[in-house]
């Protein structure tokens, strides 16, 4: 019977091409508008590392100004150098990483080529296994390289292509800020969205092009270019004083595999801040936090308000399109009331009429979904053109979104078809069809 109804639906759609086109378009425009925005929201709120996002914890320590007594003042979103180093040395998590953003100048071997700046992340050996970065060649460095201040580096795939033409560059060296670094690994395509490990400096920025040991960057006072916040002036001049200051500029992540590890780590953090209090730091009430990846995205409000507002408006937009569709379906079904009453006379029960018309509605929804997908694609191109590189990685339709678009279209059309179908079911069987 299903196939029969499909055929009837198709015949009915074909029988009134203008009305059918209008309905498909109404749904398609609604789907196009809402799916464009939903796709962007989905990308913004996506889980960038689904298989272990509940084992990775962002560490916040409340080392902020004791005089800042605003009720809603949160612990700072980064940590000080002092705390980062103490936590690294304590080595109490399964893995731990302190990292920050910087930019280095890379001098190509060929003296005719001009040097250029590369986005860099100063980090620790655990960064690569902790965030499961995919490697094209080689791998990350050992923690011995962190301690031994070795000049090693991991390149992104793009940078490796630019500098080494894409070949296996492990063992070769690159010149960064006047120093030679040995390549130990080349990453494959790696673009977590959002860029969860450093949302402070841009949640939708691309990943860095180059990674070097954090300790090396400190040792040679290489430049930083990420966000730095201080509530108190460093005591004294120079780099040493800055390192010893209460300025926060480092992101700290801990990998904790289960509840027990998490609880133990929290106990450790609390004990640590108590000990620091004794040294005259941490003047505010204790407020240490461990947020897993998705909790951290939520706390940092990675999904922008504009995106949420547009999402609400676009869903209302879909409602308007559906109200339109209801009207059109009603007109269409009522125009067919003669056929329906004949079918009823010939033995169709109300249920048969119901199924037939719901399937027809669904079919129109399917058409609307397919056209709507095309419009969504156009819409995303439009969003990209409007907002530029900032949304570069947020405007891609994946299989999930394609399915969602079709499903939303069909479900919407079925919902819109409910009332007209109910009306169709109320049509009485009759021997005499009245015109008008």
């Amino acid at each position: 019977m299903f196939n029969y109804y499909l055929k009837l639906g198709w015949l009915s759609i074909r029988a009134n091409p203008l009305l059918s086109t209008l309905m498909v378009l109404a749904i398609a425009i609604g789907i196009g508008a809402s799916m464009t925005i939903i796709t962007v929201n989905y990308a913004m709120s996506g889980n960038p590392i689904p298989h272990k996002s509940d084992q990775l914890f962002y560490v916040q320590l409340d080392s902020w100004d004791p005089n800042d007594t605003d009720e809603d003042s949160e612990p700072p979103d980064q940590v000080t150098y002092t705390d980062a180093m103490n936590l690294i040395e304590a080595d109490r998590a399964y893995r731990q990483v302190a990292s920050n953003r910087s930019g280095l100048v890379l001098e190509p071997e060929n003296p005719d080529e001009r040097p250029f700046t590369v986005d860099t992340r100063n980090t620790f050996a655990d960064f690569f296994p902790m965030f499961d970065t995919p490697f094209l060649y080689g791998g990350g460095w050992d923690s011995s390289a962190d301690d031994g201040l070795e000049h090693v580096t991991v390149l992104s795939r793009e940078l490796n292509e630019r500098v080494f033409g894409g070949e296996d560059s492990v063992g070769r060296s690159v010149r960064l800020n006047g120093m030679d670094f040995r390549v130990v690994g080349v990453l494959d395509e790696w673009l977590p969205m959002p860029k969860f490990y450093d949302v402070t400096n841009g949640a939708f920025d691309p990943s860095e092009e180059l990674y070097i040991p954090f300790n090396v960057a400190i040792e040679y006072e290489l430049p930083r270019n990420g966000n730095t916040n201080c509530w108190k002036r460093p005591e004294g001049e120079g780099f040493e004083a800055f390192l010893a200051s209460e300025c926060v500029w480092i992101q700290f992540w801990a990998e904790l595999r289960d509840e027990t590890e998490k609880r133990e780590y929290m106990d450790f953090l609390n004990a640590y801040t108590e000990q620091q209090k004794a040294l005259g730091r941490f003047g505010r009430p204790r407020d240490n936090r461990l947020s897993d990846v998705m909790e951290w995205m939520e706390a940092e409000q990675v999904v922008e308000d504009d995106a949420r507002v547009m999402m609400g408006l676009s869903l209302l937009f879909l409602v308007v399109c559906l109200l339109n569709t209801i009207g059109l379906l009603l007109a269409k079904f009522m125009r067919k009331s003669g056929d329906i009453s004949v079918r009823r006379a010939l033995g169709a029960s109300k249920r048969d009429v119901f199924t037939q018309h719901m399937i027809e509605s669904g079919l129109i929804g399917l058409g609307g979904g397919l056209v709507g997908l095309g419009l969504t694609w156009l819409g995303l191109r439009g969003i990209h053109a409007l907002f530029g590189e900032y949304v570069e990685h947020l405007v891609h339709l994946d299989g999930m979104m394609v399915l969602a678009a079709i499903a939303l279209a069909v479900v919407s059309a079925l919902a819109a078809g409910l009332y007209p179908t109910w009306q169709a079911c109320r049509i009485m069987p009759a021997s005499q069809l009245k015109t008008q």
Partner: protein
């Protein structure tokens, strides 16, 4: 076969009450060919709608095949219509989007026959009404007489015990009307009970029995003829 006892049908709106049938009683036996006549507004169509289970009545008792059908659910009523009753309408009432084959197919689909069975039956009835060659045509490509033949084929495809015809020749010229009447007589001869509503006395005469409806009740034929003569 068909037994109506004291059937009344009242249409109500906010202000008006219309008695379409009053205490209407009629018995029709197996294999009969009954013509129902009467002036317009007399209740002929209401009678046919009730007989064909297209409408529910206000009071009274209706036995079809010995079974009380007044309190069946919608899906049971639909099933009875589908299996026992064939309809032929004045306006043919073919579905314009479906071709001849698919139009005849409609009741068979609701019957739940498999593809082979449906094909066999459709081809059989189309052969019988002489339209085998037009199976792929749309109704709009057929003459009125051919359309009515399709409608009759559609009514017969499910091999119903009853054929209800509402002015089957009303929209046809006399030549076509004759061929349709011949077909209906042939069907009746095959054992199917036929009830035909018409206002044409010439057609009514060809039936085995005439029932005249006036003001929602069966009235005596002779009386009516006299009234007509007096008017």
């Amino acid at each position: 076969m068909l037994s109506m006892q004291n059937i009344s049908m009242v249409y109500r709106t906010d202000t008006v009450e219309t008695h379409a049938l009053r205490e209407f009683s009629l018995e029709v036996g197996e294999g009969e060919f009954v013509a129902v006549t009467g002036p317009s507004g007399s209740g002929k169509t209401t009678f046919l709608n009730i007989a064909g289970l297209l409408e529910r009545f206000t009071s009274g008792k209706y036995l079809l095949d010995g079974k009380d059908v007044s309190s069946l659910s919608d899906s049971d009523t639909s099933k009875v219509r589908n299996e026992k009753i064939g309809f032929v309408f004045q306006g043919f009432n073919l579905i314009p989007d479906l071709n001849v084959f698919d139009n005849v197919d409609v009741p068979l689909r609701y019957r739940g026959f498999d593809t082979a069975e449906r094909k066999r039956r459709i081809e059989g009835v189309l052969e019988r009404v002489g339209l085998s060659s037009r199976a792929k045509h749309l109704p709009s490509q057929l003459s009125g007489g051919q359309q009515q033949r399709v409608a009759i084929a559609r009514a017969l495809a499910g091999e119903p015990r009853f054929l209800l015809a509402d002015e089957p020749t009303g929209n046809l010229d006399s030549h076509m009307a004759e061929s349709i009447m011949a077909l209906i007589e042939e069907i009746n001869a095959g054992g199917t009970t036929v009830i035909m509503v018409t206002h044409d006395p010439a057609l009514a005469e060809r039936a085995g029995r005439n029932v005249h409806i006036r003001d929602g009740q069966v009235s005596d034929v002779e009386t009516d003829v006299q009234l007509v003569a007096n008017a």
